[in-house]
């Protein structure tokens, strides 16, 4: 490599991206090899397509690594309400991830409306809201309205209260 990447390394090289694709490819290859590749009556077995997919991912992971080694630049995507030049707020990101993970722990134990209130308030916080009680109240209201609309009117099962006490 004699060529220097243009304008210096703006972002550290994301080797892990290539490695992650490679690892996924490996996992799919491993899974595919455990499957029968041929069946007598249909010639092609259930293993062939996953094998192709796994091999494709491995090749793509290697290509991605080569690109990264050559200094490929990865510009964040443009989106509404996004300032791509702003420093990344890890705190906001962490709060948002926590908000989306809340239902894993509370959906069955506390029911949908409470879960909705917690998630809603956490997302609002990630977006810089400082009115926690108000956000919780709005979230609970949305949760109750949605529970009524979806569970009672449309028949999509959402737990109202802790599952053990559910009707």
């Amino acid at each position: 490599m004699t060529r220097t990447p243009p304008a210096g390394p703006a972002t550290p090289r994301p080797w892990w991206l290539g490695l992650a694709v490679l690892a996924a490819g490996g996992a799919w290859l491993y899974g595919a090899l455990a499957l029968p590749q041929t069946v007598r009556y249909a010639v092609v077995g259930p293993g062939i397509f996953p094998l192709l997919v796994g091999a494709g991912l491995v090749v793509l992971g290697l290509l991605l690594l080569v690109q990264i080694a050559r200094g490929e630049r990865f510009a964040p995507q443009d989106a509404e309400d996004v300032d791509v030049d702003a420093p990344v707020s890890w705190r906001a990101l962490g709060t948002a991830i926590a908000a989306s993970a809340v239902p894993i722990f509370t959906m069955r134990r506390l029911g949908f409306p409470v879960t909705a209130a917690l998630s809603f308030a956490l997302v609002a916080r990630a977006f810089g809201s400082a009115t926690l009680l108000r956000d919780l109240a709005i979230g609970l209201a949305i949760g109750l309205i949605c529970w009524y609309g979806f569970s009672e009117l449309l028949g999509i099962g959402l737990p109202l209260a802790p599952v053990l006490l559910d009707r």
Partner: protein, 496 residues
Amino acid sequence: MEALGALAQGFGVALQPINLVFAFVGSVLGTAIGVLPGIGPALTIALLLPVTTRIAPTGAFIMFAGVLYGAMYGGSTTSILLNTPGEAGSIMTALEGNRMARAGRGAAALATAAIGSFVAGTLATLALTFAAPLIAELAFVFGPADYFALMVLAFTSVSVVLGASRVRGFVSLFIGLAMGVMGIDAQTGQARLTFGSPELLDGMELTTVLVGLFAVGETFYVASRFSSQPPQINPLAGGAWLTREDWKRSWLPWLRGTLVGFPIGALPAGGSEIPTFLSYTIERRLAKRPDEFGRGAIEGVAGPEAANNAAAAGILVPLLTLGLPTSATAAILLAAFQNYGLQPGPFLFINSADLVWGLIASLYIGNAMLLVLNLPLVGLWVRLLLLPRKYLYGGILVFAMIGVYGASNSWLELVLMVVVGLVGYVMRVYDFPIAPVLIGLILGPLAETQLRRALAISQGDPTVLVSSPVSATILILSALVFFLPALLKRLRAAAS
């Protein structure tokens, strides 16, 4: 004129009061989500899927079509007033439209966009009316190898056209394909790549993937880089509607945009990016005052907007006649057909004529509704932009969990939603396109079926894949698609 008779029958279906209501609900919902950031037509239709299991497929698809068309109208409103093109197809609209809005001609830009969308949507639907049955007729002779080749073409074109780089486009596609093979193999009953989890025997839930990639991933991304400045909305007041001169300068670009948009949208390599770029370039070449381009030329709004809407109708041609989706939204529509146990393709026109023609007829009706909804009522939609972002994204997450948990009641799906959301976040940060994941996930299993069918017929001889003239031609076309990025780059350079 067989198509006219079928269309008349379709209007009989679409004009039933209940279906008019569905068209109206879809149009309103579509415009709203087109205006709002963070939620698009693909995600909306996916969230509607569980709700619609109990209504007749005709009504559901009429509503989905309203969402699809409405989102285009709403999207042009935001690109003109906010300069934030929500999707690739409205980048060109934002270019000139936003300059017009800043110069106080926002109302004229919105009007030419809305009327242009109406004209293009109606003409393109007319073209769809006559082209679709013919292509469906052709598709009867396609064998499994030909279908497989068509799907390869769709795969390569979405990966090459939609991404910033071909490698990243294909990585996205293969992630989708990899998720598509999970679960029980339909032909042998063998469990594949379930990693020992009985809940994964049904495969990856489409709703979970969509909600994770779009709603959750987008929420993470926007939260981490939230621009604290409130959006700058260009005022609508004071601007005149279309003047006589505006009409004179708009009508030809509308027609030319339609002519460019529909055929390209109908190709498996379609999408809306190329036709809008092309239309913009053409209008700039043909303009009497090219110096106005870059400072708010009305032709630069009228042409690309028409092309965008015509391409949206064009996308329905391969979807309905061949079962081939070429955009994220089309992929969801295909999944919706499968949900109802229907397989788009030539037989759909025979077995479900009422559904297909009712859907096509409803496109005419939906377009007229959208014109009324968007021209006089645009001020109302602009209000939606003022919704505080903290509540908007909070609400999106609540609906996301309803979509994921309500349909399955599965704890694992909630975990997967967060995992896929993180993948969606990483894809946005490192600029991997999202749509190829969905195409891979939904079209992948169908491609596998065709591949195995073709190889079973040939007793395992792989040359069967290239031995028919149709499949060989299509595969050569797929190879040519690799050179599209260079062409796109030239178009982009010509446009700026």
